[in-house]
C-alpha cells in the first residue's frame, strides 16, 4: 500500500500537466489532494507497521532480469519515519505555495514529481531502483529553483544540480563496483549487505559512497551548494530542500554507505594525521559543519542565508550522530532528520512566505526598522516558536534528537561532543539575533513604511493556508518534543534489526 505514495505523486504531476495554464485554483487543489493523499497513506502505513515491526516488503517484481535488477520496495522503522516527514513537508509546502500564480500548474507538477522521487528513495530496497529515484529527483529541483526562485536563481539551481549529480556519480561508481564484485547476482540491499566485500575494497568504497551521499546532506566542505540553493529557491522548494532533500543524502549515508560497507568504518592500520579511521574524519567534518555553519549564520545580512547556514549546522548533528555507531546516537540522528525537516520547513516558510512575499526584502537591517511584530504578529509568534525549536529548546523535537546525538558522541569523540555543545550555543546566538532583528527590533521609532513605500499596516494578513501549514508543523514539533517515543519506538527496533545491527559497534 505504501507504494501508492509514489504513484499518487506522479499521477498528480501528470494530471496537473493536463490542466490549462490559467486554471490556477484547480492546480492548487490537485496538488493539495495529491500531497494529502500521500501523507494519509504514509500515516496509515505507519499505524499498520507499528503493529508488526521488522522489515516489511511492499513490492517485489522482476524488472531487468538480464542484470538481476528487481523492483523491490520495503519499509522498516527508519523508512516510515522519513516517509512521514515527506508527507508532512509536502502538504505544508503546497499550503505555503498557495499564492504562486506564475505558471502554477508546472510549479506543482515539478513539485509533485520531486515528492514522488523522494518517496521512491525512502521505499526502495533495490539499489538500482534507489539510485533511479535519487537521480530522478535532481531535474525537478533544478527547474523549481531556476524558474520560480529569487536571488541568483539560475546560478543557484545549476550549482545544486551539479553538486547533486557529482555526488550521485560518486555513489554510482561505488554501487557498480560493489555489484560487480558481488558477482552481479543481485542489487538487493539486504543481499548485498550480507556479501563479504574485501576489507581493502570497503576502505575506499565506503568514503566514496558516503561522501557522494553526504554532499547532498551538506557535509562540510561540500556544503556550499546549500546556502546558495536555499536562498535562490522559492519557499516551497526551500522547505523541501532543507527539510527533505538533505535528509535523502543522510538516509543514503546510513542505508547504503554504512550498511553495505561497515568495515569501512573500522580503524586503519596506522593513524594518519591524528585520524584513526574514516569515522574520525567524518565525525570531525560533521562537527566543523556544526560550528562553522553556526558561526557563519551569525554574521549573515540576509535572513534566508541565516536559515540556510543553520540547516548546514543542524545536518552536522545528523552526520555526527551517524558516526557515533551507537543506538542512542543513530536513533538521535534519524530523529534529528525528522525534527530538523519540520523545523527547517517552518523557518523557511516564515522567512519566504510570510515575510519576503509581503515585505519584499530579506535584508535584516531593513527588516529591523519595520517593526514586523506589530504588523505580522502571527508570523512573529510562529518564528519565535520555530526559533526556539531550532535552538534545541527542550519541549521541542530538536532537543531530544540533539541530546541523543551528543550522548552518543561523547562515548566515541568527547571533544566533538563538547564542540557540538558549543555549536548549540552559537545557535542560540544567531537565532536570537535573527529573531530580534527581523521582528522585535528595539527601535523606539520604527519606520512605518516598507522599503518600497507601502505603509506598514497595509501588509496583507496571514492567510488561512499559511496558518494551517504553520499549525501543522508546530504541532509536529511539539508532539515529538514532548513524546519522542512515538518515533523512537519505530526507529530503535529498526536499528536493532539484522540489517542494521552490524553497525552498532560503539556500545550503548
Amino acid at each position: 500500500m505504501l507504494a501508492w505514495t509514489i504513484y499518487i505523486s506522479f499521477a498528480g504531476a501528470a494530471a496537473l500537466l493536463t490542466l490549462k495554464p490559467d486554471q490556477v485554483r484547480a492546480a492548487r487543489i490537485v496538488a493539495l489532494l495529491a500531497s494529502l493523499a500521500g501523507l494519509l497513506v504514509a500515516l496509515a502505513g505507519a499505524f499498520e507497521f507499528s503493529a508488526s515491526g521488522g522489515l516489511v516488503t511492499v513490492a517485489d517484481k522482476a524488472w531487468i532480469p538480464q542484470l538481476n535488477i528487481r523492483y523491490t520496495l520495503a519499509v522498516d522503522g527508519i523508512s516510515i519515519t522519513l516517509l512521514l516527514l515527506t508527507g508532512i513537508a509536502s502538504v505544508t509546502g503546497v499550503l505555503f505555495s498557495w499564492n504562486v500564480t506564475h505558471r502554477t500548474k508546472e510549479f506543482f507538477a515539478f513539485y509533485l514529481a520531486l515528492i514522488g522521487g523522494v518517496y521512491g528513495v525512502f521505499l526502495s530496497f533495490d539499489l538500482f531502483l534507489l539510485f533511479v529515484f535519487y537521480e530522478l529527483a535532481i531535474v525537478p529541483k533544478y527547474f523549481l529553483i531556476a524558474i520560480w526562485g529569487s536571488t541568483r536563481r539560475e546560478y543557484g539551481a545549476m550549482k545544486l544540480a551539479l553538486y547533486s549529480f557529482v555526488g550521485s556519480a560518486m555513489v554510482l561508481v561505488g554501487l557498480i563496483a560493489a555489484y560487480v564484485l558481488a558477482g552481479s547476482n543481485t542489487f538487493n540491499l539486504i543481499e548485498l549487505a550480507k556479501f563479504p566485500f574485501p576489507r581493502d575494497f570497503q576502505m575506499w568504497a565506503f568514503p566514496l559512497v558516503f561522501v557522494g551521499f553526504a554532499i547532498l546532506a551538506g557535509l562540510w566542505p561540500f556544503h556550499t551548494w546549500a546556502p546558495t540553493g536555499h536562498v535562490a529557491a522559492p519557499t516551497a522548494a526551500s522547505m523541501l530542500l532543507a527539510g527533505v532533500i538533505m535528509k535523502l543524502g543522510a538516509y543514503g549515508c546510513l542505508r547504503v554507505a554504512m550498511t553495505l560497507f561497515p568495515l569501512g568504518l573500522d580503524d586503519w592500520q596506522h593513524s594518519v594525521l591524528g585520524f584513526g579511521s574514516w569515522r574520525d574524519v567524518f565525525g570531525l567534518l560533521a562537527v566543523i559543519g556544526i560550528v562553522y555553519g553556526a558561526m557563519v549564520a551569525l554574521v549573515q545580512k540576509d535572513f534566508k542565508f541565516v536559515i540556510g547556514y543553520s540547516s548546514v549546522s543542524h545536518m552536522g548533528f545528523v552526520l555526527l550522530g551517524l558516526m557515533t555507531l551507537t543506538t542512542i546516537g543513530l536513533s538521535g540522528a534519524v530523529l534529528q532528520m525528522f525534527s530538523h525537516g519540520i523545523i527547517a520547513g517552518l523557518l523557511f516558510a516564515v522567512v519566504g512566505r510570510m515575510v519576503y512575499d509581503r515585505a519584499h526584502t530579506r535584508v535584516l537591517d531593513e527588516l529591523e526598522v519595520m517593526r514586523l511584530s506589530k504588523a505580522l504578529p502571527f508570523a512573529a509568534g510562529t518564528f519565535v516558536v520555530a526559533g526556539l525549536a531550532s535552538m534545541g529548546m527542550p519541549g521541542f523535537s530538536g532537543f531530544v534528537a540533539e541530546l541523543q546525538v551528543l550522548i552518543g558522541a561523547w562515548k566515541a569523540f568527547p571533544t566533538f561532543a563538547v564542540l557540538g555543545g558549543l555549536g548549540v550555543l552559537i545557535g542560540v546566538a544567531y537565532t536570537l539575533r535573527a529573531v530580534q532583528k527581523s521582528f522585535f527590533s528595539g527601535h523606539a521609532e520604527p519606520s512605518s513604511e516598507l522599503r518600497d513605500g507601502t505603509p506598514n499596516h497595509d501588509l496583507e494578513p496571514i492567510s488561512l493556508p499559511e496558518k494551517i501549514g504553520a499549525a501543522l508543523l508546530i504541532v509536529c514539533m511539539v508532539v515529538i518534543g514532548v513524546y519522542p517515543q512515538l518515533l523512537l519506538k519505530l526507529i530503535v527496533p529498526a536499528l536493532r534489526s539484522d540489517l542494521m545491527a552490524p553497525l552498532l559497534k560503539g556500545g550503548l
Binding site: W63, I64, P65, Q66, L67, F128, F131, V132, F133, E135, L136, I138, V139, Y142, F143, A146, I147, E154, M158, A161, L162, F165, V166, A169, M170, L172, V173, I176, A177, Y179, V180, L181, G183, S184
Partner: protein
C-alpha cells in the same frame, strides 16, 4: 550457391538500390514544377516504403547463419537485427527531412540516402576486410555528398570539404592498415585472420597496422583525436544529413569496429587495467575513449550553437560507447549496441527539434530555443526527454545505457576491477555533461520567449516522429528488458 539464392539473401539491399533508382527516376520525370515540399514528401514516402519492404524481407528471412564468400557476407540473427535498426533510422531520417528546405535536388538526395543505407547494410554483414573497406567507402562517399548538399550555405560546403579531406585521409590509413593486416596474416576473412594474427602480436608491423586501423575507425566514430570533422559536419550539413551521420552511420561504424576488433583481432587484446597495461587494441581504444570523454564534454560547455553542442556531445558519447567495447565480452558488446541504438534514436529526436526551430528562425543557437515551452509544448517536452536521456538521468534510456556500459566494463574483470579508472572518468565526465544539457533546457523552459519569435508549426510526420522517439526513449529506459533481450539473444 547460385545467383538466385544470393539475391534472396541480399533482397533487402537490392530492394533499397531499386528504390533509390525509382526515387531518382520519379523525381526527374515528375518533379519539375511541383513545390519542393511535395517532392520531399513523395520521395520520403517512397524511400520509407522501400525501407519497409526491405524490413519485411529481413523479418521473414530464416535465422540460420550463413557465411558467404569467405566472410564477405554474413547473414545471421545479429546482422538481421542491426539491419532492421538501420532501416528504421533511415525511415526516421527521411521523415524528418520532409519539412526542410535546403535543396532542389530532392531525388538525388534521397537516392544518396538510400545508397548510404545500402553501404551500411553491407558493412554490418561483412566479415572480410575487403568488403569492409568497400562498404565503408560507399557509406562515406554518400555521406560526403549528403553533407555538401546545401548549395546555398557555404557552411555546408566547408563542412563537406573537411569531412571529405579528413575522411579521405582516414580511408587511406584504414586501407594501409588493413593491407598490413593482410600481409601479416595472409587472410582476408576476419575469422581466419584471428587464427593467424596472435602469433604476430609482438611484431612492430602489427602495432603499426593496429594504430592505422584505429585511426581509420576512430575517424568514423568521431573519437578524439580524429574528431575534428564532426563539429563542422554536424553544424554545417543539412539537418537530415547531420541526423543521419549522427545516428545510422554511428551505429554501423561502431558495430563494424566491434566486429573487427573482437573477431578479427581476437587474441591480441592486451589490457587496459589500471597498473596492468598490456599492449593490444584494448589500451589503444582506452586512450581514445578517455580523450573523447574529456574533450567532448569539456568543449561542449562553451558552445553557443545547439548543433555544435550536439556534435561535441556525440564525441563524448563515442567515448562512453568505447568503454563498453573495451570489455570485449558478449555483455560488453551488448551494452555498446544497446547504447548506440538508443543514442541514435535520441539524436534523431534532438535533431528533429532543432530542425523545426532552425527552419522557422534560421538560427541554431541556444538563444533561438528560448521560450520553446511557450511556443510549442510538444517540442519542449520532447527536447527535455532527449537532453535528459543524453545526460543520463533515469528512468530514460541514456541512464540505463550508461549504467549497463559501466557494469559490463567492470564485469570484464570482476575480481580486480581493472577498468575502474575509466569508469570513474566516464561517470565524472557524465556529471560534467549535465551542465550543458541543462543549458539547453534552461533556454527551453526557464527563459521567456522573445516577442518576435516566429511561430513553430510542424508537419504531422515530424510530430509523429517526435512523439514516437520520445516514447521510445522513455520506454526503453524504464523497461529496457525487451531490447536487451533481443540484443543478447542475437549475439552468437
Amino acid at each position: 550457391m547460385n545467383y538466385w539464392e544470393l539475391c534472396r539473401l541480399f533482397a533487402p539491399e537490392i530492394t533499397l538500390v531499386l528504390t533509390a533508382g525509382l526515387v531518382l527516376l520519379l523525381d526527374l520525370a515528375r518533379g519539375r514544377g511541383v513545390p519542393n515540399r511535395q517532392r520531399m514528401g513523395l520521395a520520403a514516402a517512397l524511400a520509407s516504403a522501400g525501407c519497409l519492404i526491405a524490413w519485411a524481407f529481413l523479418f521473414m528471412s530464416e535465422t540460420r547463419a550463413t557465411t558467404l564468400l569467405n566472410g564477405m557476407g554474413v547473414i545471421d540473427p545479429q546482422t538481421n537485427f542491426l539491419k532492421q535498426v538501420l532501416l528504421l533510422l533511415t525511415i526516421l531520417t527521411a521523415m524528418i527531412s520532409i519539412e526542410t528546405e535546403f535543396t532542389d535536388h530532392v531525388g538525388e538526395y534521397f537516392a544518396l540516402l538510400l545508397l548510404a543505407t545500402v553501404g551500411m547494410m553491407f558493412l554490418v554483414s561483412s566479415e572480410n576486410i575487403l568488403m569492409i573497406f568497400v562498404s565503408l567507402e560507399l557509406l562515406s562517399l554518400s555521406l560526403y555528398v549528403m553533407t555538401a548538399f546545401n548549395k546555398r550555405n557555404p557552411q555546408s560546403a566547408e563542412a563537406a570539404l573537411k569531412y571529405f579531406l579528413f575522411g579521405g585521409m582516414a580511408a587511406a590509413f584504414t586501407l594501409f592498415g588493413l593491407s598490413l593486416v593482410y600481409g601479416l596474416s595472409g587472410e582476408t576473412s576476419l575469422r581466419e585472420i584471428a587464427r593467424q594474427l596472435p602469433s604476430h602480436a609482438r611484431d612492430p608491423l602489427f602495432l603499426l597496422a593496429l594504430l592505422m586501423t584505429v585511426v581509420g575507425f576512430g575517424f568514423k566514430v568521431a573519437a578524439v583525436p580524429f574528431h575534428l570533422w564532426a563539429p563542422d559536419a554536424y553544424q554545417g550539413a543539412p539537418l537530415p544529413s547531420a541526423a543521419f551521420i549522427a545516428s545510422g552511420s554511428k551505429v554501423a561504424s561502431f558495430f563494424i569496429l566491434a566486429k573487427f576488433m573482437m573477431i578479427g583481432l581476437a587474441g591480441t587484446e592486451g589490457s587496459a587495467a589500471w597498473c596492468a597495461f598490456a599492449s593490444g587494441w584494448v589500451p589503444a581504444l582506452a586512450v581514445l575513449a578517455a580523450l573523447s570523454m574529456l574533450l567532448g564534454n569539456l568543449a561542449a560547455i562553451a558552445q553557443k550553437s545547439v548543433r555544435r553542442l550536439l556534435a561535441y556531445s556525440a564525441i563524448a558519447q563515442a567515448g562512453y560507447m568505447l568503454v563498453g567495447l573495451l570489455a570485449h565480452t558478449p555483455q560488453g558488446l551488448a551494452s555498446m549496441l544497446y547504447y548506440v541504438i538508443t543514442y541514435a534514436l535520441t539524436t534523431i529526436g534532438a535533431f528533429a527539434v532543432v530542425a523545426v526551430v532552425q527552419e522557422k528562425s534560421g538560427d541554431d543557437s541556444l538563444a533561438a530555443l528560448a521560450g520553446l515551452r511557450q511556443r510549442s509544448p510538444l517540442l519542449a517536452g520532447c527536447m527535455m526527454i532527449f537532453m535528459l536521456s543524453l545526460a543520463g538521468i533515469p528512468p530514460l534510456a541514456g541512464f540505463f545505457g550508461k549504467f549497463y556500459l559501466f557494469t559490463a566494463a567492470l564485469n570484464s574483470d570482476a575480481k580486480s576491477l581493472g577498468l575502474l579508472w575509466l569508469v570513474i572518468l566516464a561517470i565524472a565526465m557524465s556529471a560534467v555533461s549535465l551542465y550543458y544539457y541543462l543549458q539547453v533546457l534552461k533556454a527551453v523552459f526557464v527563459h521567456a520567449a522573445p516577442p518576435e519569435a516566429p511561430a513553430l508549426t510542424m508537419a504531422t510526420s515530424t510530430r509523429l516522429v517526435l512523439i514516437l522517439l520520445a516514447l521510445a526513449v522513455v520506454l526503453l529506459g524504464a523497461v529496457p528488458g525487451t531490447l536487451l533481450e533481443k540484443i543478447l539473444s542475437t549475439i552468437p
